[in-house]
């Protein structure tokens, strides 16, 4: 079954229709490269997937479960959106590392907050349920005859004690679990940092790194949360040409695992070599989609041919 299924995504900014109905699906472990000229809607598509923009229409399903439906009401609990967002990771064109934190802290902070958040949610849920029970009990108390009230109070007290005990057991399990998880965060981050080749930079600050190194940290940061689908928004566009290689190599190395990735890119060579699937976008629609050999060597659409011709000419690789 497809891990990601996108159906009929539409998005307008004012009167400008940026996405005019995007459909595609992606299998687990596949790498999708989205190419196309500036303004074709590639970045907006990624931002819709990551809930940074809200699509006007269409559905997004992850692992068969619909996580976004444009037909639903616009008001959604922030916490719900946050949880849905975690299906996706996003690496930005301009890195967006947190400048005041070390490389390691950049990677671990979100995981730690999420782990701590879980315990907090549990506490709040219990408090909320307790308030509900209290309310119901008071209502019932009013409705009962005076003679029966003592029995009711007794029953309520017993129930509360049981609930309290259950909650405490649950909480201590969660706290133990939380501590175990928190202890793993740092070694895990160091492990990922090693995989992007920056073990020696754990205690450096972002401003001390080159652009390529910063982008590799940003990749590690997104990766550390283990999103099901990792998105890259033109990850090398803000880099000097000699630094793009190291970043592309890191992305290529990620491919080995069963990680699903979507890469918006202008690096045609990279797209051809790494992607399993290419989408060429023009004017808010998918103009052409298929395996790299087909899209690059035998493009069906006139627009694709023109785009590939001009972008390959630029790098001097046109026939």
């Amino acid at each position: 079954m497809a891990i990601l299924e996108v159906k009929n995504i539409k998005k307008s900014f004012g009167k400008v229709k940026v996405l005019k109905g995007i459909d595609f699906s992606l299998e687990r472990g596949e790498v999708l490269a989205i190419i196309g000229s500036s303004g074709s809607g590639k970045t907006t598509l990624l931002r819709c997937l990551n809930f940074l923009e809200r699509a006007d229409e269409g559905t997004i399903s992850v692992g068969g479960q619909v996580i976004f439906n444009g037909a639903d009401a616009k008001t959604e609990n922030e916490a719900v959106t946050r949880r849905k967002r975690l299906h996706f990771g996003l690496v930005f064109q301009s890195f967006n590392l947190f400048p005041q934190y070390t490389v390691l802290k950049n990677i671990t902070m979100a995981s730690e907050l999420l782990i701590k958040g879980e315990a907090k949610d549990c506490r709040e849920e219990y408090e909320y349920n307790r308030k509900l029970r209290e309310k119901a009990y008071k209502k019932e108390l009013k409705a009962t005859r005076k003679a029966d009230r003592a029995a009711l109070t007794e029953r309520h007290r017993e129930l509360e004690a049981k609930e309290q005990a259950a909650y405490e057991a649950h909480m201590s399990a969660i706290n133990a679990n939380m501590k175990a998880k928190l202890a793993e965060v740092k070694p895990h981050a160091l492990d990922i940092l090693a995989q992007v080749g920056l073990s020696d930079k754990a205690d450096a600050y972002p401003c001390q790194l080159s652009g390529g190194q910063q982008q590799r940290v940003a990749i590690a940061r997104a990766w550390a949360l283990h999103p099901e689908i990792l998105c890259f928004d033109e990850p090398t566009s803000a880099l000097d040409p000699e630094l793009t290689g190291e970043v592309l190599r890191v992305i290529r190395n990620l491919k080995g695992s069963d990680r699903t990735m979507i890469v918006v890119t202008h690096e045609m060579e990279f797209a051809r070599n790494v992607a399993d699937k290419i989408i060429f976008m023009a004017d808010g629609v998918i103009e052409e989609m298929g395996p790299p050999e087909q899209v690059f060597d035998d493009p069906q659409s006139e627009k694709t041919r023109a785009f590939l011709h001009s972008s390959l000419e630029l790098t001097g690789k046109a026939d």
């Binding site: 990551n50 809930f51 940074l52 922030e78 916490a79 946050r82 949880r83 967002r85 975690l86 996706f88 990771g89 996003l90 930005f92 301009s94 967006n96 590392l97 947190f98 400048p99 005041q100 934190y101 902070m109 979100a110 907050l113 999420l114 958040g117 600050y205 972002p206 401003c207 940061r221 997104a222 949360l225």
Partner: protein, 230 residues
């Protein structure tokens, strides 16, 4: 040394103590109040209105606060002092506020408005990408503000803040206008009582030394925050 010298020095220090007290209390109240005013002026609470075919967003809280800030920043602090001290009595026949309280009130309101604009500039200068990076990492709005944005704002506002705070040191002398016994007032009194002009001139030393210390302090803060760039 004659005894008048020591009398002068003593009363200058006495006056300077009042100056310092006004300075410190103004900061203590105006710094947080400025943040509240800043959030108010950035508030997006409101409604949409269709005016002649153009949809406009009307934010009453923000509009109200912005008007207030405009009035406070658009009129002289000296005038505000006079209005706050004499105004209630003249208009409503209320009792006069104690002089120091009136001055403090005027300073806090005035400086909070200036601070609010510095805060706003700092907050709005943080790139969208920082918020978005926090969002895609599953952070809550308050986590993003307190853990990601705030420290960057602090770093950005230290230079304009230090400027404003150093201005405050010297603005305290305006309280002389309603006869608060701060250092200028004390020094000036020797002109009439003893025919001495040098006490007034020597107040400059107090201001210079204190502003020098503040400059060193802010320099140290800036250095302390220089380990990261925003």
């Amino acid at each position: 040394m004659d005894s008048i010298f020591w009398t002068v020095i003593l009363s200058l220090f006495e006056g300077f103590a009042t100056t310092l007290k006004l300075f410190a209390l103004t900061l203590i109240f105006a710094l947080p109040l400025g943040l509240v005013i800043c959030f108010g002026s950035m508030s997006k609470i409101g409604f949409n209105l269709r005016l002649g075919g153009v949809r406009r967003r009307i934010c009453p809280i923000s509009a109200l606060i912005k008007t207030f800030v405009w009035i406070i920043r658009g009129t002289p602090l000296m005038l505000q002092l006079i209005v706050i001290y004499y105004g209630p009595g003249l208009m409503f026949e209320w009792d006069l506020l104690p002089r120091f309280t009136a001055v403090l009130l005027a300073f806090v309101i005035n400086y909070a408005c200036y601070f609010s604009e510095i805060y706003r500039g700092g907050i709005e200068s943080i790139p969208r990408g920082q918020y978005e990076a926090g969002q895609v990492l599953g952070m809550t709005k308050s986590q993003i503000f307190f853990r990601v944005v705030l420290m960057q704002v602090v770093k950005r506002i230290v230079p304009p803040m230090s400027n404003e705070i150093i201005t405050l040191v010297k603005d305290t002398s305006l309280s002389r206008i309603i006869a608060v016994y701060e250092i200028i007032f004390m020094a000036q009194s020797f002109i009439k009582s003893a025919g001495l002009i040098w006490p007034l001139f020597s107040t400059a030393i107090f201001y210079l030394v204190f502003c020098g210390l503040l400059t060193i302090l802010f320099g140290a803060i800036e250095r302390k925050l220089s380990y990261y760039k925003v």
